[in-house]
Amino acid sequence: MVDSIISAASVIAAAIAVGFAGLGPGIGQGNAAGQAVEGIARQPEAEGKIRGTLLLSLAFMESLTIYGLVVALSVLFANPFVG
C-alpha cells in the first residue's frame, strides 16, 4: 500500500520535475536565439561568431533542463524511497 502510494507520487514528481525544468530554460533559449537573430540581421558578417557563441550558450541552458531530467530518471528508475 505504502509502496504503491510512493510509486504514484514518484511518477507525478518525475512529470513535474521535467515539466518545470523545461519551462525556464525554454524562455531563456528563446530569448538568446531571438537576440542572436537580431544580431545577425544587424551585422550579417559576424554570423559565424554569433552562431558559435549561441550554440555554446544554448547548450549551457539545455543542461539546466537535463538536471531536471536526471532527477526525474532517478525518481523513476532508481527510486531511493521504494524499499
Partner: protein, 233 residues
Amino acid sequence: MFFLSKIEVGSHFYINFSESLHLHGETVIVSSLVVTGVILFLILGTRNLEKVPGNLQNITEILYEFVKSIAFTQMGPSYYSQFLPFVATIFLFVLGSNLAGALIPWKLLELEAGEFAAPTNDINTTAALAILTSLAYFFAGFKIKGIGYFKRYIKPAPFFLPINIVEDFTKPLSLNFRLFGNVVADELTVTVICSLVPLIIPLPIMMLGLFASSLQALIFATLAAAYIGEVIE
C-alpha cells in the same frame, strides 16, 4: 510483429571480483576500446609528419588547432601550453566515447544484462572525469600560485568564503550531471521513438543526438579549461 526494444536504465553487465568489488563490464569494455581507438588514431596521424599533410595528418592537425584554441582562449598565452594535454585528453575521450555510443551498432551484440552503449551513459565515467577536472584545477592553482591559491576563497570579500567553498563541490557535480544527462537523454529519446515508430522517423533525432553529443565534448573541454583558467589568472 516488430521487435520492440526494451527500455531499461541502470542495469549492468557485472564483472565480479569478490563479494563487494565488481565492475560495470560494458562500460569498462567500451571505454577501453575508445581509449585504444583514440591512441591508435593519434599515433597513425602523427607518425610520418610531412610538409604537405596527408588525410590523417590533416585531421589530427585540425583537432590540435581546435583544442589549442579552446585552451588558449580560456587560459591566456602564458599558461595554456602546460594544461593543453589535459584539456585535449578530456576532449578526445568524451568525443570518442559519445561517438562510439552513437555510431557503432552495438545492438548486434547481446549481453546477458545491460547493453553496450556510450561509456559516458554510466554516471561513474562522468563522475571520474569531473573529479579529475577538479583535481586538475586544484593542482594548477597550487602549482602556479603556491599557497597564495587560498586567497581565491576570500575574493571579492571575506564573507564570500562559504559560497566559494560550496562552488568547489558544485562544479564537478554540474559537470558530471550535464554530460551524463545529455548522453542518457539522447539515448532514451531514440529508444522511446524507436519503440513507437521503428523506421525512418528516429533518423533526425539520431542526427540531433550526434550533433549534441559532439557539442557536449566541446562544452566539457571548454568548462575544464575555464575552471583551470579561473584559478591561475
